[in-house]
């Protein structure tokens, strides 16, 4: 996988996917920075990983369950749940409309 295929369009697409607003100047800066970082990191492509399993977690635990019991000491009141929100209205979080 050659990494010189990161174009300004790819950068814009990534920003869109990650919901990041970036300026045109930033697009150019990130393009060159990401290309140089990815060029360095692409060296893992040299390794043969046929028949090697992927590791996603190293704690060796499986199926960690707990009883489905409500712990009331950990419940937030409506005020506590809302107190860090920038926009609230009558006890609700306010979000931008997503439908026209």
């Amino acid at each position: 996988m050659k990494s010189d295929n990161i174009t300004t369009d790819v950068i814009k697409h990534l920003a869109h996917l990650a919901s990041l607003n970036i300026t045109d100047d930033q697009v150019k800066t990130f393009q060159s920075q990401l290309n140089s970082i990815l060029e360095y990191m692409s060296k893992i492509q040299q390794l043969n990983t046929d028949n090697v399993e992927e590791t996603t977690n190293v704690n060796g635990l499986t199926n960690v369950f707990r009883e489905d019991i409500i712990d009331e000491s950990r419940m937030f009141s409506q005020d506590e749940a809302l107190k860090n929100a920038i926009r609230i209205y009558h006890g609700y979080f306010v979000v931008d409309a997503i439908l026209e």
């Binding site: 920075q33 360095y40 893992i44 590791t55 190293v58 635990l61 960690v64 860090n84 929100a85």
Partner: protein
């Protein structure tokens, strides 16, 4: 200076009522007032009156742990109820958590007194504590240099004795790197040894919560009180917690420390190389055998870390939408945006197999590499950083160089093994040098024993930074 004494010593004095928690807090705030304006350790420093009230209250109770009444600081990644928690990002600049992280809760229960939240690279993204919206933390050994990171504020708080100990968080060197650059001791625990509940997530499968202290003994003491399984962190381990402090003096006869030769061949500052290799003598005097080994795959640890870490961070930081808490996504710094974009790229359709999955496979190979070496040794000795702390601003505009500063500290997190960073000398320009001892999973007790006995035989860790002796301080 009381806070230069070990936790055990302070605890004995408190128990015998020869000193009080109030006295320690007064001493801490006096020093913070004098030195902190030049160091910038805290994102939030608690009001002295409020902390003194807690200390007064602690003085009326009988100590139940050695941490009782001792002032400490915690990285601003840990949620602290009713105390602002920012992760050093403007996204959370006004966030006041309605709940406590498990580590903070445990330290409160142990009687420790929190002074403040420490500066860090935002979200843990960095190795210099410059990627912060609160201004960089300065290195007390040279104020024009960085403190290391991302737990830079916590390391400096310990280095200048603002606190008896501090809490950091290590995802790819974030405890060990600032420990090495500030002449303090820091532990990256085995993954799962300490609960991550309530700590701002960088990369969930790498993140570990650990202490920074003046000595190995102090770190052992703190770990006893924060480790253990937590029902709120499904990845925390049921492995029993040992009484680490009681087994610091076990015999090290016939123990074997391996040194991977590749790490000393290129890319390392010759002075750092020399000081680390000089530690062999001290270890041999403790009855330990030193063996050379080879770990060629370590060369691939950085790419593994920089594909998986950003992938996980792009997912973890997706929650910051500015709706329920925090500001919107326009408040991320360029470094954080870069990491989110790399992660998004590695996880996106068409690249997922080539980058993310590939990195997870190489991660497996790294685990096997460590397993192979640990069949013939008990611990592995490595440098912490290839160079001395950089000048402030020097690496900020060169992301790739910035990444390379992590070359020795990124292999341990994908593998999950513990690593203890210990001071082992100074450069000719009097900048601290650190080494790290890496152990098998859950062998913190052995790392502590080796580290403690090394510190009994050496005095590097006792040297205080020059900021104490320069004019007009008098603290």
């Amino acid at each position: 200076m009381l806070l230069d004494k070990s936790i055990q010593k302070l605890s004995d004095l408190i128990k015998r009522k020869e000193i009080s928690s109030v006295q320690l807090v007064e001493e801490a705030y006096a020093r913070i007032e004098t030195l902190n304006p030049r160091l910038n350790v805290f994102t939030t420093l608690r009001k002295k009156e409020e902390v003194l009230r807690e200390a007064q209250e602690a003085d009326t109770r009988d100590p139940v742990t050695p941490l009782h009444g001792l002032p400490y600081a915690i990285k601003d990644a840990y949620a602290t109820q009713d105390i602002r928690t920012t992760a050093s990002s403007n996204v959370l600049k006004d966030f006041v958590p309605p709940y406590d992280s498990t580590v903070y809760k445990k330290l409160k229960k142990a009687g420790a007194i929190l002074l403040g939240k420490t500066n860090m690279d935002a979200w843990g993204h960095g190795a210099t504590t410059e990627n912060t919206d609160f201004g960089p933390t300065k290195n007390p050994w040279d104020l024009t240099r960085v403190a290391g990171g991302s737990s830079g504020g916590s390391a400096v708080a310990v280095a200048v004795r603002f606190v008896a100990f501090a809490m950091g968080e290590d995802t790819g060197g974030s405890i060990r790197n600032p420990a090495a650059w500030t002449n303090t001791t820091g532990l990256k625990v085995t993954y799962g040894r300490v609960s991550r509940y309530g700590a701002a997530a960088y990369a969930s499968s790498f993140d570990t919560m650990g202490p920074l202290g003046k000595t190995v003994e102090d770190c052992a003491c703190v770990l006893e009180h924060i480790a253990g399984i937590d029902p709120y962190d499904g990845s925390s381990s049921p492995e029993p917690v040992k009484q680490y402090q009681k087994i610091l003096d076990v015999s090290l006869q016939k123990k074997v420390i391996a040194i991977p030769k590749e790490l000393f061949e290129k890319g390392i500052d010759p002075e750092i190389r020399q000081m680390i290799l000089q530690t062999k003598k001290v270890f041999e005097n403790l009855g330990i055998t030193i063996q050379e080994t080879s770990m060629p795959l370590l060369d691939y640890a950085l790419p593994v870390y920089y594909f998986i870490g950003p992938s996980e961070t792009s997912s973890n930081l997706a929650r910051y939408d500015g709706i329920r808490y925090g500001q919107n996504r326009d408040h991320f710094t360029p470094e954080t945006i870069r990491r989110i974009m790399i992660g998004t790229y590695a996880l996106s359709a068409g690249y997922y197999d080539a980058f993310y999955k590939k990195a997870q496979r190489v991660r497996t190979m790294l685990i096997q590499e460590y397993e192979r070496v640990f069949r013939a040794c008990d611990a592995i000795l490595m440098p912490v950083t290839p160079t001395s702390p950089s000048k402030i601003g020097e690496l900020m505009n060169d992301p790739l160089q910035n990444i390379l500063a992590d070359m020795y500290t990124t292999s341990q997190n994908p593998v999950g093994v513990p690593s203890l960073a210990i001071p082992c000398g100074f450069t000719s320009s009097k900048l601290p040098i650190g080494m790290q001892l890496i152990g098998k999973k859950f062998s913190e007790d052995l790392l502590f024993a080796i580290g403690h006995q090394y510190q009994v035989a050496t005095s590097w860790h006792k040297t205080l930074p020059p900021i104490f002796t320069t004019k007009k301080e008098g603290v």
